[in-house]
């Protein structure tokens, strides 16, 4: 018993002593600091002592009622981008300035395409793409082969919707020109001038209507191993018939469910028939054939869209075996735009 009593007394002494010692310390004493350094010359006495009623103030310091640093203004969210293409055909919607666009597609016909674009000053856009729509055949008895990759460059300029007057559709004038492509000993080139109008009808529907002026050339002499003697150069404009070169195109865009759009479009693509023999290419050596595509665009996130659908490369033939299932992923980025804005 005495042992426990002595332990309790000792503990009480220790606690009481510690409390007493703590009571003697000044409150909130920080760690010990080094003494001020000894300088050779003492600081000069103040020439104008501050009045006792006002403390000294830094004239360059911000006013007491203003915050020291203004917080960065939050950037408004990027608006949704109206896509410059339906499934195959162009729309009149141009990419906003410095917005980048990248689209890659594969299909069951073995086609792989890519398309990169950038918006220029809200009134134009430039792009480079590889397409798989250009086809070639030796003669009418053979199946058509896709010429790919077929590299093209695109420049488009235009007006946004409602810029000039209410209900004015968006308008875009575009030019797409291919680089020369050598295939099976033949050299081909294509060029397409397009004028398209796009108009929203309500929030969930849009219509695109346009016309294209085509030209293409086919050269078989001296381009490769399969040179055909007497094969003259052929161009689409040789016939001097504008009807062979002008084609309508367009499509419909519906959004029955948020972020999901149904797209249907009609487009055109050149077909080269290589054989110069009379009657081997009944429709001529360069023809334009209509393509019908339908599908769905699903906006997974603000910066990525998935598209899939069906394409009939020649709706005139109604050939089911030619039908292609395609899948596309499209990325858009405002990063360059924000970087440019940051420099201003």
């Amino acid at each position: 018993m005495t042992r426990w009593t002595s332990i309790a007394a000792t503990a009480g002494c220790l606690v009481g002593g510690a409390r007493a010692a703590r009571a003697q310390l000044p409150p909130d004493v920080g760690p010990p600091q080094d003494p001020p350094p000894v300088t050779a010359t003492p600081p000069p006495p103040p020439t104008q002592p501050a009045p006792a009623t006002q403390p000294p103030q830094d004239p360059y310091a911000p006013a007491a009622d203003q915050p020291a640093a203004r917080p960065a203004k939050p950037r408004p969210p990027d608006p949704p981008i109206a896509m410059p293409e339906l499934l195959r055909s162009p729309t009149a919607w141009l990419l906003p300035a410095a917005v980048m666009y990248w689209k890659t597609s594969v299909d069951t016909g073995g086609g792989v395409t890519t398309n990169g674009r950038v918006g220029l000053g809200d009134v134009a856009e430039f792009g480079v793409s590889t397409i798989d729509s250009v086809r070639a055949k030796l003669d009418d008895t053979r199946t058509e082969d896709v010429i790919q990759p077929y590299v093209t460059a695109t420049f488009r300029m235009g007006l946004g919707e409602g810029r000039l007057f209410d209900d004015q559709p968006a308008l875009a004038l575009g030019f797409e020109k291919s680089f020369q492509r050598n295939h099976d000993g033949f050299a081909t080139r294509t060029a397409e001038l397009t004028l398209v109008a796009s108009k929203h009808f309500g929030k969930h529907a849009a219509l695109h209507v346009g016309g294209s002026f085509w030209d293409a050339s086919l050269r078989g002499d001296g381009e490769g191993d399969q040179t055909i003697s007497g094969f003259d150069n052929v161009t689409l404009h040789d016939s001097n018939d504008l009807g062979n070169q002008i084609r309508p195109f367009g499509g419909v865009q519906l959004e029955p469910i948020a972020n999901s759009e149904i797209l249907v479009d009609l487009s055109w693509a050149p077909v080269f028939c290589y054989s110069p023999a009379k009657g081997a290419c009944a429709d001529g050596q360069i023809t334009l054939q209509p393509e019908l595509s339908w599908g769905v665009r699903y906006r997974v996130a603000d910066w990525v869209n998935l598209e899939s659908g069906v394409r009939l490369p020649n709706i005139g033939k109604a050939d089911l075996l030619d039908a292609q299932i395609f899948g596309t992923v499209t990325f858009t980025s405002w990063g360059l735009r924000h970087a440019v804005d940051g420099l201003k």
Binding site: T108, I257, N259, S260, W294, Y298, A318, L320, L321, I325
Partner: protein, 250 residues
């Protein structure tokens, strides 16, 4: 070793009992019964996959993705189509890559019935010149324990790149699924569909009928035991297959 076995068996029984005690999850809705298409579209952003193997070792696999609740795209490979090297020879299943796109009306309730309708297209690839494409329309109705599917399928095929075409051919397709209320995880399947067969270089048409049982072991997955018989085959030539199905919501 025996102790480990006993522990494994007891553990499995406990898990099975726990699974059985849980309420049955909603059924896995696929884009096909066995061969015939259905009008069920996957939810936006969800992934649907299935794979199978028959007793001859011929397999199939498919992976689909729901596009915005309006459509779906899928890519896979199967051995549904048969070909013989010479005309009149014994046809054998051939492996074809296949991609499909479906666009339709999401399923919705109309009174006591849930209905859906879809327009779809499928095209083959990687078939060494053999090609089969089809365009179909199908409608589905879900009434109580029964789900019925009826459609029309226009298809074409050719045995080689320069071979003769079958020509556009239209055939119906039918399918039925029954989930007995007493066994909410079990579904009985039956269907019939038509598709091309390559008799040498000549494409012809044959039917493919099947039946089976799908057991939904997991909320997201099911296992099937199926039997399929083709036109002109005896009962002994029917193929027994096992399939695994899965649906992963976004």
């Amino acid at each position: 070793m025996p102790r480990a076995l006993v522990i494994a068996v007891v553990g499995s029984l406990a898990i099975a009992r726990a699974a059985a005690a849980e309420p049955a999850p909603p059924p896995v809705l696929l884009d096909h019964v066995l061969t015939a298409p259905t009008a069920w579209l996957p939810e936006a952003g969800s992934v649907v996959g299935w794979t199978g193997l028959d007793h001859h070792g011929d397999g199939s696999i498919d992976l689909g993705y729901g596009l915005g609740g309006l459509a779906a795209v899928d890519v896979g490979a199967d051995t549904d189509v048969r070909a013989s090297t010479v005309a009149g020879g014994a046809p054998q299943p051939i492996a074809l890559g296949r991609a499909g796109f479906r666009l339709g009306v999401p399923r919705r309730r109309l009174g006591a019935v849930t209905v859906g309708a879809v327009v779809g297209a499928r095209a083959t690839f990687a078939g060494d010149g053999r090609r089969v494409s089809d365009l179909y329309v199908v409608a589905s109705a879900w009434l109580g324990p029964v789900r019925l599917h009826a459609g029309a399928d226009a298809f074409d095929g050719k045995a080689s790149s320069d071979g003769a075409r079958l020509g556009d051919t239209i055939r119906p397709s039918f399918g039925a699924e029954l989930t007995p209320p007493q066994y909410p995880r079990t579904t009985l399947l039956a269907d019939v569909a038509w598709l091309p067969r390559f008799d040498g270089a000549t494409p012809v048409v044959e039917y493919l009928a099947g039946g089976g049982v799908r057991y939904q072991a997991l909320a997201w997955g099911a296992i099937e035991l199926d039997v399929r018989a083709r036109e002109g085959e005896g009962l002994g030539d029917a193929r027994v297959m096992v399939r695994l199905d899965g649906v992963w919501a976004r």
